[in-house]
Amino acid sequence: MTETTLSHPDNRESTTFTQEELGWLPWLEPFPADQLTERHWAGLVDASRAKSPYFLLLARDPDVLQARTKTDKDIFYNTSNGLPRAERELAATATSRHNGCIFCASVHSRFATQYSKRGADVQRLLDEGVDAHIDSRWNAIIEASVALTGTPIAFGDEQIKALRKAGLDDLEIVDVINGAAFFNWANRLMLSLGEPTPPAKA
């Protein structure tokens, strides 16, 4: 079978960071939805993800997808203790902004806004970039995420000291590390396997 890439000549890619809802088009053929086996369904974790071309494409390697998704969910949704969800989403947004993932930044900036009720501050991170000066606690989380996102990695004593000064304990710092590290995984998949589509006009 000859496999080819998919192109979307009519798509107008989003050219700015936004909190609006974007779509995503794959550059490779997703796994056919009508041929999913039990192992693929397990990989998708939530049955609703079978509607997403992104998850159907990743379902071609279902065991990795399943473990990826469960790692993601615990890092972001397990809020019985540790860093508030809003600030985990802030770490995800800062990482996505720094790597340049317009799609990931759109999803997680919306979550950051929803959980923090600070949409204008979140928008400043998108508009001004990771050097935006917001407040000492958010700055420390953004700077730590950015330092961890650099290659080579620049995260160390300076960032940890700033996080502690901003009131984060070690479990909360581990949540920042996990959140930023996870988006270095997610950004690379999202950026390299397809492209975002503009927000649907209401």
Binding site: L28, A67, K70, T71, C101, T151, G156, L191
Partner: protein, 221 residues
């Protein structure tokens, strides 16, 4: 490898059972367990598909090396050394040096973000190493470099190069997951190591110890 490693992130970050970081990691048990499951799905897969173990470990050694994380690089290089041609690890190490860069860089779609475009190395495997690695693995390393340093330059054309070099669509998904997972794993390891280091230096700091001992004596803890 003779030793059984039950959790690779713990192993690479030097986290011992019962330590403070061990307890902190246990607060996110699903994330911890599934980071390990991701590692196993990529490096000890039940259904390996068409991506060989040599390709997986060669790319992993390369990616860890690009991150300047010697202990992670040595971990993957040790496996590669066991299963690959004796000279393969040397070739990968030479390519790590050749691919050295600082990321993230890359271009945005033409528009207001264009002012943030940042140029950087567009890496290609050295011609003589391309011959010894073969076109498929060499193209895989070039794609790994793109994902590590400038993922926003990704394009259908970059994926077409992989298809042309013999990677199937499913192989490309596995390769992309491998590089992206490592970008996560290496950062968790580096972050936890930094946190352990900062805590160790603080407890070795006489001023900090004095304050802490004073707090303990006061019964405030």
């Amino acid at each position: 490898m003779s030793i059984i490693i039950s959790d690779v992130i713990d192993h690479l970050a030097g986290i011992r059972p019962g330590s403070s970081l061990d307890r902190l990691r246990d607060q996110r048990p699903q994330a911890r367990e599934n980071a390990q499951k991701s590692y196993r799905a990529l490096f000890e897969p039940e259904f390996p598909g068409e991506v060989t173990a040599i390709e997986r470990y060669a790319v992993a050694t390369f990616v860890a090396g690009l991150h300047h994380q010697p202990h992670v690089t040595d971990f993957y290089a040790a496996y590669l050394q066991e299963i690959g041609h004796p000279r393969l690890t040397d070739v990968i190490r030479a390519e790590i040096a050749r691919g050295s860069a600082e990321g993230p860089y890359g271009r945005y779609p033409q528009g207001p973000l264009t002012v943030e475009d940042k140029e950087g190395l567009v890496y290609q495997v050295a011609a003589d190493n391309r011959k010894s690695l073969g076109s498929r693995l060499a193209t895989g390393l070039e794609h790994a470099h793109l994902l590590v340093f400038h993922p926003r330059d990704a394009s259908p054309a970059a994926l077409q190069k992989l298809l042309d070099a013999g990677w199937s669509t499913t192989d490309i998904v596995t390769l992309s997951q491998l590089v992206s997972f490592l970008s996560f794993q290496i950062r968790v390891v580096a972050g936890l190591r930094a946190l352990a280091g900062a805590s160790a230096r603080e407890s070795a700091d006489p001023d900090f110890t004095q304050i802490f001992t004073g707090v303990l004596a006061s019964g405030a803890v």
